[in-house]
């Protein structure tokens, strides 16, 4: 792992999130034995390196009325998926899009596109647009709605691992 022991200590101290106090970095510093300026500098450097992707809120889609969250999945011919995938990913309705391996026989799908909406009707309408775009290159598809968030945390480093 390409991070220093101090960065690791800092990540462990931050992974539960920042406290809602006026000086949150000072509070984190207290947990690590660093001073506030070092915490701020190290986080800035980690952000520069892309190890910190962003600093801010992870909202709960459900509580914000985005109650329909459909993982649309598609069995797209291998010779077409590299060309069609980027077009699906570029659609405004799609928040994440990946090619992943199939797991036959239980799972024939190789293209995954996440669609969010305020209702299942809205998600289905967006799914129909994707289906049209994929056309005959798509042999089968399904949609998996999420019905519960079972866990949602940031990265958790194991204590004491090297």
């Amino acid at each position: 792992m390409s991070i220093s022991a101090q960065d690791r200590t800092l990540i462990e101290a931050c992974q539960g999130g920042l406290p809602f106090v006026p000086e949150p970095y000072a509070a984190i510093a207290e947990k690590t034995g660093m001073d506030e300026a070092e915490v701020i500098d190290r986080l800035a450097a980690l952000k520069e390196r892309g190890i910190v992707r962003r600093i801010g809120i992870a909202p709960n889609h459900y509580k914000l009325g985005m109650t329909a969250n459909g993982m649309t999945v598609w069995d797209v011919c291998d010779d077409a998926v590299q060309e069609l995938g980027p077009l699906v990913g570029a659609m405004e309705a799609v928040t994440h899009c990946y090619i992943r391996p199939r797991a036959l026989p239980i799972w024939p799908y190789n293209l995954f596109a996440m669609v969010h909406g305020a209702s299942r009707d809205e998600v289905e309408a967006k799914r129909a647009v994707i289906a049209e775009l994929l056309g005959d290159a798509c042999r089968a598809s399904d949609i998996l709605y999420s019905t519960a968030i079972l866990k949602k945390t940031g990265l958790r480093l194991k204590k004491g691992a090297s």
């Binding site: 000086e23 952000k47 910190v52 992707r53 600093i55 909202p59 928040t95 999420s146 940031g154």
Partner: protein
């Protein structure tokens, strides 16, 4: 919890770009036209109500030399709670969702090394007696994350 327009503005404004400074809430509050105390109390209330699942830095395991992998398990409905507890007990499980399919539990493993994915999956299989299907990303076309609040 009923969110008012100010709460919604906070959610939209603070998904990224939280300041790295000694009094970051004061800075963020000023940009929103709020007092530091008001912002802190609203954030605290939204966190307690579950509107905010987390607040702070989001780390990228892959950028640290680690790995992510989407995984799924077909959990018998009568074992769902038990398996959920077992799976969520693993610190490598970052998100977990129940979904409408025979593969009804979908979670993301985040580990510090590539090898950690397979190792964690085998441990989860041992703990649950169920097959863990691995769906690593072969190619990513887009990741966007912006909620209309």
């Amino acid at each position: 919890m009923m969110l008012d327009d100010t709460d919604r503005a906070i959610i939209n404004a603070l998904q990224e770009g939280f300041p790295l400074a000694s009094r970051p809430y004061a800075q963020a509050a000023e940009r929103l036209g709020l007092s530091e105390a008001d912002l802190l109390s609203r954030l605290t209330a939204m966190k307690e109500a579950g509107v905010i699942t987390r607040f702070g830095p989001f780390f990228d395991a892959a950028a640290m030399g680690g790995a992510f992998c989407l995984c799924a398990i077909a959990v018998p409905e009568d074992r769902f709670d038990e398996v959920n507890d077992a799976v969520n007990a693993f610190p490598e499980v970052a998100h977990n969702y129940k979904r409408t399919h025979r593969l009804n539990m979908w979670f993301v493993l985040a580990t510090e090394t590539e090898d950690g994915i397979g190792a964690a999956a085998r441990e989860i299989e041992a703990a649950t007696g169920l097959t863990v299907y691995l769906f690593p990303k072969l190619r990513e076309f887009f990741i966007g994350f912006r909620v209309a609040a």
